[in-house]
Symmetry: C2
Subunit: 393 residues, 2 copies
């Protein structure tokens, strides 16, 4: 078997404005940090970078949790890490499902032999805490799990009530923060969260490939007192913690350059400040929605339940979903996402995440969308620009 | 909780010559490719990069196997992927153990509930195929598993005899190629290998973070006819194959920039040619050994069982392992590895992998080691340079 090496050209992805459900645009500084020379994973310099990455992650999660690390896989590996380390066969796990990622949680719980208790909510709406209260009544679940920011629908799940219900039931509270971390207020310690995971390619604006996680002392106790081994060697936090801890006990080789990138992305967040960053996400979201509504488009999610970084826009009757997205990509270099599952063809998912959450992108996207819709013969109400300006003024 | 962003400086790992058990030095072209703009994981351009990466990986593995992809995790996730997709609870798995990585295989088999049949060999020697023949006699194991290149000892395991034994027993033949792939002859198709995995940071000279794997049609049949679900969602190849296949069905977000890097590293291999690359690894290995032996040092592994890319050197009596390695790192910027497990303090592991396998590195390392040993008051025989030159001439 041979191959002709000259068939392959230099990597050149061109320029994209990433306004889909992730990845978001990665700042040049992060790409530069990522391309620093690769060194040994036990080199003293790299160990110092690991320490700094942990400190910065604790700041972002707002936690003192010792086990706060980037798992060596993408966001979904973070989800898997949380469940497989904390659930043993036969244990009850309450999972709130109102989109793709709650569904994925349930799938994982089944694979590890957990006793799954599903709470189903409408896709596009938050889960009612009363439904959780009912579900845990008379039970003692090991875990109550929710998705903070459902990337498939744009819904924000309020956490405090469910955190209280979980605590009263003696359960660990597990939260998916893949899309919310870095884009809206989160405090793992103050919100009573025991296990949280995220991805790097959303509001952190680092390339995909790592899954930041954090385990509370209660979660660590559950891990340390397991009766059965963690079903995965690769994601077994009882071993991985010794590599990231003071022991530095070899487990697997860390993805060195990805960690350079994450550290730089977190440093940029620290420079901006959390409060300022969250305010920026909210402002650009409000401007986008004002513009879309002025154009006559409507949002899937009621105003009080919307995420600031992921906007689910209802596709108007008679509009060809794929054709519009293709025109945005080919003519304007703008990527947005389509709907998943039952929402396929019904919504667009417009991300304003991390480095992509800018006034410039809001304006460009609205103008581009208007242009594409008009070219398709769709009537668009005037006044988007004025509505957007009013938000920024 | 606040943090002071000015405490963190720019990433600057300095310059290291990576001659340990991995990572190896990464060519500038690979680092440049990795720092190209991150784009969407379903962007048409990225899909073409996925296709090209698969073609290049098939070339490297010398296989036509459809499922030939980089798993989104480091090398160990490749090991886990092979076992958890192909083993069901109660099935017999024969694992050959003569180092750390065979031990890790056994650990994973236990976690997935496989019936483990261990074949133990001496650390520093290859496994005798007769031991495998005995172990499978009267059994019908699902898998026979070996480590081709035991990174913990520097031993090369001949594959053909064990492949035949596995085939006769009706078992799938599973091979760890983490350290061998890209540095010595391998043909997944011609050698009768059903499942193989590797890492990117050894002889491929790409940063760590991906695990190339390949499954034969027999392995795919075993996967497709499972009676129980794969215990991991993240590494479930029955789903991941649809993302890498023509369907492009969303599973998880691929680590975009890492895949840019891998594609470039594979392209460099294609440019060099496999035959030329393997000859280079062998030549530099022979030169290194000639120099070490001229200095009066000895190798752990008998000549016929040595790997070309990982050299286990016995630490002479009275020499302080850690002190020597620290001096090599601090005074010469050279990283080599120490021993693992029972071999800790007894061997050094000197890698000549991928981009690090050069005549220049062989000479520098020998000179640096001689300098450090002499400074420690150790007697070193003269003539290393002559011995090395004789190999290259």
């Amino acid at each position: 078997m041979s191959i002709n090496a000259t068939e392959f050209t230099d990597i050149d992805p061109g320029e994209r404005i990433l306004m889909g459900p992730g990845p978001s645009n990665v700042p040049a500084r992060v790409l530069q940090a990522m391309s620093a020379p690769c060194i040994g994973h036990l080199d003293p310099y790299f160990l110092s970078i690991m320490d700094e990455t942990q400190r910065l992650l604790r700041f972002l999660f707002q936690t003192e949790n010792d086990l706060t690390i980037p798992v060596s896989g993408t966001g979904s590996s973070g989800m898997e890490t949380c469940f497989i380390n904390l659930v043993e066969p036969g244990e009850e796990v309450v999972v709130c499902i109102n989109g793709v990622f709650g569904t994925r949680m349930a799938d994982i719980v089944n694979r590890v032999g957990g006793e799954l208790i599903e709470i189903h909510g409408q896709w596009g709406r938050a889960i009612d805490p009363e439904a959780v209260r009912k579900a845990v009544k008379g039970r003692s679940p090991k875990i109550v799990a929710v998705v903070h920011a459902e990337t498939s629908t744009g819904v924000c799940q309020p956490l405090r009530d469910i955190a209280n219900i979980a605590r009263e039931a003696g359960a660990l509270f597990l939260v998916d923060m893949v899309t919310s971390l870095g884009g809206m207020e989160i405090s793992v310690d103050n919100m009573g969260i025991d296990a949280a995971y995220s991805g790097t390619q959303k509001c952190i604006s680092c390339p995909p490939g790592l899954a930041p996680i954090s385990f509370s002392s209660a979660a660590m106790k559950a891990l340390n007192t397991r009766k059965t081994p963690v079903p995965s060697w690769y994601l077994d936090m009882s071993m991985v913690k010794s590599y990231w801890g003071a022991d530095r006990k070899y487990h697997h080789t860390a993805p060195i350059n990805m960690i350079y990138a994450l550290r730089e992305a977190l440093r940029i967040i620290a420079e901006e400040g959390l409060k300022e960053r969250f305010a920026r996400h909210l402002l650009n979201h409000r401007a986008l929605v004002a513009g879309l509504e002025a154009m006559g488009l409507s949002m899937l999610v009621p105003e009080t339940e919307r995420l600031p970084m992921l906007n689910a826009v209802c596709i108007p009757e008679g509009v060809d979903d794929v054709k519009v997205r293709r025109a945005l990509l080919n003519d304007f270099g703008i990527e947005i996402g389509g709907g998943l599952g039952d929402l396929q063809g019904k919504i667009w998912r417009v991300g304003l995440m991390g480095h992509s959450s800018t006034r410039k992108n809001v304006l460009l996207f609205l103008t581009a969308l208007e242009t594409v819709l008009k070219a398709e013969g769709i009537k668009v109400s005037p006044g988007a620009l004025e509505a957007v300006s009013a938000v920024y003024s």
